[in-house]
Amino acid sequence: MGEFLQSLVRGLGTGSIYSLLALGFVIIYKSTQVISFAQPAFMLAGAVLVSYLAPVTGFFGAVAVAAVIIAFLALGVERTVLRPMVGKPVFVVAIITIGVDVVVRVVTNAFIGLEVRQVGDPWGLSTVTFLGVDVQSRYLVMFGTTAVVTVALFAFFQYSRVGLAMRAVAYDQEVALAQGISVGSVFALSWALAGGLAALAGVFVATGAGVDQQLWIVALKALPAIILGGLESLGGAVIGGLAVGVIESLVGTYQGSFAPWLGPNFALVAPYALMLLVLLVRPYGLFGKREVERL
């Protein structure tokens, strides 16, 4: 039971990282109908930025500053690279974001170098006793922070005027334009939000082990999460992210004794296997919108 609880908490902790990233993907998708493959690069850049800023401003200040800087970086990318492509096929735009990802990541890698950089977080690998088992405190922090951020985001979309504008654009861009909403600034804002969320996620990934050049691969786990939850659903993104984290962690704990023929490290690809299975049953994810098609 202790092992199960430990594994569950670990899963929820890493799952909340995936949730943050998945929220970014979904926010961009809802406003622009594009999946931004640049999220991994923004995540990496956020973590690296914190590793440079933390000695100067302290960890929490560094996280705040980094999230803002990455948000502006994402906004700049949207303005310069994505804006000319409005109205072009979404697949082409998605491939452009792969290009952005490669460029940002290579530049960021130059700042990482070959060693592992520490972000200077106060938790490290320390553990606390939670419900009778020892769990790493950073997982609890991740889960708590994500819960707060998610609630804040939902409140923002539900109650603020800007949030309402973003929902309107997601619903129908032309009608939103006709109501006097600046669709362009909604696009920019959604990229900025996604960038900030990615930076925060990056910091969480880097707690404990630190930042190296391979960190970005973690962000790709958010893709099964958004597919599981359904591309249009913010709630689905959070649940999908947590589900992916928990599945990964549980498979990592138990697969070695129950299904060793799958090979070690199967946990790393378990989310993708889960995604394939879910999609065969529900092609629009668990909470996605079934498209109504007309000729």
Binding site: F91, I95, I96, G99, L223, L231, L295
Partner: protein
């Protein structure tokens, strides 16, 4: 019709393989140049070009499913891997460290690689029937990760990461093509082999896309719902597109490492898929010649960037400097992808069309 070469009096003429005289002349000239090339340039360049030709076969395959049939696939690396391991296992040494069956005859393992990959394509295709657009892209991306895991763990077949296994053995009518023979060196023979195969597969693909099947693909791409209303069987043509594309990928995968002679399971990552997408998009989606141009361009890019340190001294030529050629190469990929898609969405092929149209009406601008 004399003196009016562009006047067509039948559909057959319009749809002909090379429908204008300049095309016939240019194709003939290109063919002759390509056949003479192995006797004029050095062996290492020939090896690079041979790899480029193989990549072109793979890019044509991806273009069939993505450019013509409009089904976005990020899973091309998976199908390349299937082909590579089928070819290598069939032709491998039966008494070696990894699985091998000792069937070294090139036509047999080449066809088998294509067919096995096509089989996997057919297995994946039902997903494409149920999903569309970016959902499909992400699912095929998941395929790459799952495949990567299997190939890393199945060390009896792949040799394991970091170790690898020998590639397929190119033996044609009892002659090892990768070894020097009485008349030609190994690289010259491989270059000619790959070129001939590229021509065969290129012509096959070109014929396919101007047939009934090709038109059905285009209809599915442009609006699949409308296509099904006018009587195009969506399931059939999506499965067909994946099968053909995977066949090409399998063939390309089996040949891809023949030039180097060795490969490891780490080669078939997401990066490889992105490279093939880049080939198709930089070359020009929905064109066979574009896929070939894009493949050659992407394959030759590292070679070009490697020459840059001599010209631009602030770039360091080894892996230790502040701004290395390897970083430059990676950045160039990204920048080229962005610039091409924004400025010239039809890729190299689009540039060629513009140049051609400019000179066709020269000195007038219309």
């Amino acid at each position: 019709m004399r003196g009016r070469p562009e006047l067509y009096t039948s559909y057959a003429q319009d749809m002909a393989f090379l429908n204008t005289r300049p095309k016939r002349i240019a194709s003939g000239a290109l063919l002759i140049v390509a056949l003479l090339l192995p006797f004029m340039i050095t062996d290492d360049l020939l090896q690079l070009l041979a790899t480029g030709f193989v990549a072109a076969i793979g890019a044509i395959g991806l273009n069939i499913v993505t450019g013509y049939a409009g089904q976005v696939s990020l899973g091309h690396a998976f199908f390349l891997a299937i082909g590579a391991y089928t070819g290598a296992a069939l032709s491998g040494n039966p008494n070696g460290r990894v699985i091998g069956f000792g069937i070294t005859s090139l036509p047999i393992w080449l066809l088998a690689s294509g067919l096995v990959a096509a089989l996997f394509g057919v297995l994946v295709a039902p997903l494409a029937v149920r999903l569309r657009g970016l959902y499909l892209a992400i699912v095929t991306l998941g395929l790459v990760f799952l495949g990567d895991h299997v190939f890393r763990e199945w060390t009896e077949l792949t040799g394991g990461p970091g170790v690898g296994r020998p590639a397929a053995v190119p033996e044609l009518f009892g002659v090892r093509l990768d070894r020097n023979s009485a008349f030609l060196t190994g690289p010259q023979q491989l270059y000619l082999l790959m070129f001939v195969l590229l021509v065969i597969f290129g012509v096959l693909a070109r014929n396919l896309v101007r047939s009934r099947i090709g038109r059905a693909f285009a209809a599915v791409r442009d609006r699949d719902l409308a296509a099904s209303v006018i009587g195009v069987d969506l399931t059939k043509y999506k499965v067909l597109a994946f099968a053909i594309s995977s066949f090409y990928a399998g063939v390309a995968g089996a040949l891809l490492f023949v030039v180097n002679g060795f490969f490891d399971p780490g080669s078939f990552s997401l990066l490889l898929s992105v490279q093939y997408i880049a080939m198709v998009l930089i070359g020009g989606a929905g064109t066979i010649s574009g896929a070939i141009m894009g493949a050659l361009f992407i394959t030759l890019l590292p070679r070009i960037t490697r020459e840059l340190p001599a010209v631009l001294p602030f770039i360091s030529g080894d892996a230790t400097g502040n701004f290395t050629v390897f970083q430059l190469e990676a950045v160039l990929y990204g920048v080229l992808l962005i610039v091409f898609l924004i400025v010239e969405p039809r890729g190299l092929f689009g540039i060629w069309v513009r140049v051609r149209n400019y000179w066709r009406t020269w000195p007038f601008s219309y």
